[in-house]
């Protein structure tokens, strides 16, 4: 079984993001990058499937800057077999999700994968579109928000998280699956895995991306949180506090 996983290099979710002076990109100084967390879950799941089946190949693909080789290397150290980097030097904000999916689909098509996995959204731009667009371009069914995935023969059984319920769906391979939390718990790359990854290949490809049909106008930090309010002190404050929690915050 051939499994392709699409991953994106994004600022570490624990990084405090500062907007650059141009107002359209983030200030890269002091930012650390990681594999986008849902993509990392997808990588883990792919490796687990390969381990369960005892055979197969896991290929990670990323569109991003040359530095994204570090994130691909992380996936190889976790246990993926090889990687493809679609080199794109510009800001990821200059690409619309469809052009990203087109470039990925062009790279994935010749591999003829049985399964394509990716995170349900990237942690930086939150578009949540690439998986679906990829499925259309590859002419495969798409299963989104998947929290459980089993493969037996050519049949995949997935659990999808839908409002207030879990939907169980069966599909024939090949399919595209977008990963939700719970699908797998990413492992630490072992040191032997890191050493082994040195010998695995990262194929670099130049790509021509279609100019974005979306224009990013402005990035702005989220509005500051309104200041807290002290409703009173000691036990006399309890009724006011209960009232505020019930009627204002509506958490009780």
């Amino acid at each position: 079984m051939k499994i392709v996983v699409c991953i994106k290099r994004v600022p570490d979710t624990a990084t405090r993001i500062r907007i650059a002076p141009d107002g359209k990109s983030i200030d890269p100084s002091g930012v650390e990058y990681v594999v986008s967390p849902y993509d990392e879950i997808a990588v883990e799941k792919a490796i687990q499937l390969k381990e369960q089946l005892g055979a197969g190949e896991v290929i990670v693909v990323s569109l991003g800057p040359a530095e994204a080789s570090k994130e691909l290397r992380t996936c190889l150290a976790m246990g993926a077999d090889r990687a493809i980097l679609l080199k794109y030097a510009g800001s990821s904000f200059d690409l619309d999700p469809l052009s990203v999916a087109e470039a990925l689909a062009d790279a994935i098509r010749p591999i003829q994968p049985d399964l394509v996995l990716t995170g349900w959204k990237a942690a930086d731009d939150d578009h949540a579109q690439v998986g679906q667009a990829l499925a259309v371009l590859l002419d495969m069914p798409c299963l989104t928000f998947v929290a459980k995935l089993d493969v037996a023969g050519r049949t995949a059984t997935v659990h999808r998280e839908v409002e207030g319920a879990v939907e169980e769906v069966e599909a024939s391979l090949p399919i595209v699956v977008t990963a939700q939390r719970g699908l797998a718990e990413p492992r630490y790359a072992s040191l032997k895995g890191i050493m082994a990854a040195k010998k695995k290949s990262i194929e670099e490809k130049e790509i021509a991306t279609r100019p974005s049909r979306l224009e990013l106008r402005k990035l702005a930090p989220p509005p500051a949180r309104p200041p807290g309010r002290i409703v009173g002190q000691g036990k006399d404050a309890v009724p006011a506090l209960v009232d505020a929690l019930m009627n204002e915050a509506k958490v009780l």
């Binding site: 570090k70 290397r73 630490y188 040191l191 032997k192 890191i194």
Partner: protein, 388 residues
């Protein structure tokens, strides 16, 4: 909890390879997620976190710079970065890994027979066998050459008699590398727990390295087979070679403890308000923080260069002494200053600098005390041995 980031004021990351950084970041995440949540409790209860042994082994942290026998085969810089990150968590965790890798797996690797290597190294890398290193005795610390422990030839093996004290991991070990005199020559023996006359007692009441097992080993007519002798070990230089291997990791580890303290003190000083401003806004506090940062950066440079020399096979034991001596001393001072910056909070185990401060007192003394390293270096540069 705020995510720990490390400090890289001189962009030393640029001097590390991609896989060295990956190793460091992996261990850093492991320490954040697996060590930090429980280490305070273990220190308070004086328990070693046994539950982490399997996880450290699975990551490949044990004997990581050895080649083959299921070891990860990392270079010495990557190995040093592992020690740094582990000690950022706690010196006790790093001590466990140093002893297992540098003081037990290393002598087996260096002085052992092929059978000994095959028997022990994979099991120790997997964390299934735990080792300890018994050199120090109640009456012979800085002067191990005077040891009393003796091995005498017996039918089919040797009989060991003597007492080893201050032995890390000894109460939980499956095998101890015991150094004893055989016909007046110091030799290493692999003593398995089990035979009669091998007794371990944990040393209680430590205020330092509380999350580490420190014990005494009593050898009472303890019989070991012929195959227990490390054939390649001969003379005091053998255990000293092991100490130099482990000491290299300690020089890196000390930076980790210092980084933890600096990180905590910097963060605290920015949020602690006195006289209507964060204490980080006072010149005296800034001077303390700058002093910490400066010493950390110098220590990082020392270690990185030391590691590259070691990888090139050019390092001298005296160079390792210099780094151990300097980095542990500076880390201890940094821990004390961090404790000071945290005020009263610094004396509780809600915060980590007090724990590191207490731990570093042991690190200052073991693997050659600070002053012994002074004398080692003094002898090296003057050609005059001032302590023997």
């Amino acid at each position: 909890m705020r995510k720990y980031r490390g400090v890289d004021y001189y962009a030393l990351d640029e001097l590390l390879s991609e896989d060295e950084r990956l190793v460091r970041d992996t261990v850093r995440d492991f320490v954040d997620e697996r060590v930090m949540p429980s280490i305070g409790m273990h220190f308070r209860n004086a328990t070693f976190p046994n539950e982490l042994v399997g996880e450290m082994a699975k990551l490949g942290l044990l004997g990581a710079n050895l080649n083959g026998y299921e070891c990860a085969g990392l270079n010495n810089v990557a190995y040093g970065l592992i020690m740094q990150e582990l000690e950022r968590g706690d010196s006790g965790i790093r001590s466990f890994a140093s002893v297992q890798g540098g003081l037990v797996m290393y002598p087996i690797y260096e002085f052992g027979s092929e059978e000994q290597k095959k028997k022990w190294l994979p099991a120790m890398a997997r964390g299934e066998a735990i080792g300890s290193f018994g050199l120090t005795e109640p009456d012979f610390g800085s002067n191990p050459g005077g040891m009393i422990t003796r091995a005498t030839k017996a039918k089919g093996g040797y009989v060991l008699n003597g007492t080893k004290r201050w032995i890390t991991n000894a109460s939980m070990c499956h095998v101890a590398v015991v150094w004893a005199k055989l016909d007046d020559v110091i030799r290493g023996f692999l003593v398995e727990r089990g035979p009669k006359g091998f007794i371990t007692n944990e040393i209680k009441g430590k205020y330092s390295l509380r999350a580490s097992d420190t014990s005494e080993i009593i050898l009472e007519d303890c019989f070991v087979p012929e195959s227990a002798l490390l054939p390649g070990s001969k003379g005091l230089s053998s255990p000293l070679k092991c100490l130099s291997a482990a000491r290299y990791g300690i020089a890196w580890g000390a930076i980790g403890a210092a980084l933890a303290c600096y990180d905590e003190a910097l963060d605290y000083s920015k949020s602690r308000v006195q006289f209507d401003r964060p204490i980080a806004g006072f010149q005296l506090v800034q001077a303390k923080l700058v002093g910490m940062l400066t010493e950390i950066t110098k220590g990082q440079l020392l270690c990185l260069r030391l590691g590259r020399l070691k990888d090139a096979g050019k390092v001298t034991p005296q160079q390792v002494s210099l780094a151990k001596r300097n980095n542990v001393h500076e880390a201890l001072k940094i821990a004390r200053v961090a404790r000071d910056i945290l005020g009263a909070n610094g004396v509780t185990d809600e915060y980590q600098c007090g724990r590191h401060m207490c731990n570093l007192e042991s690190v200052y003394t073991y693997e050659g005390t600070h002053d012994i390293h002074t004398l080692v270096l003094g002898a090296d540069i003057t050609g005059i041995d001032a302590f023997r």
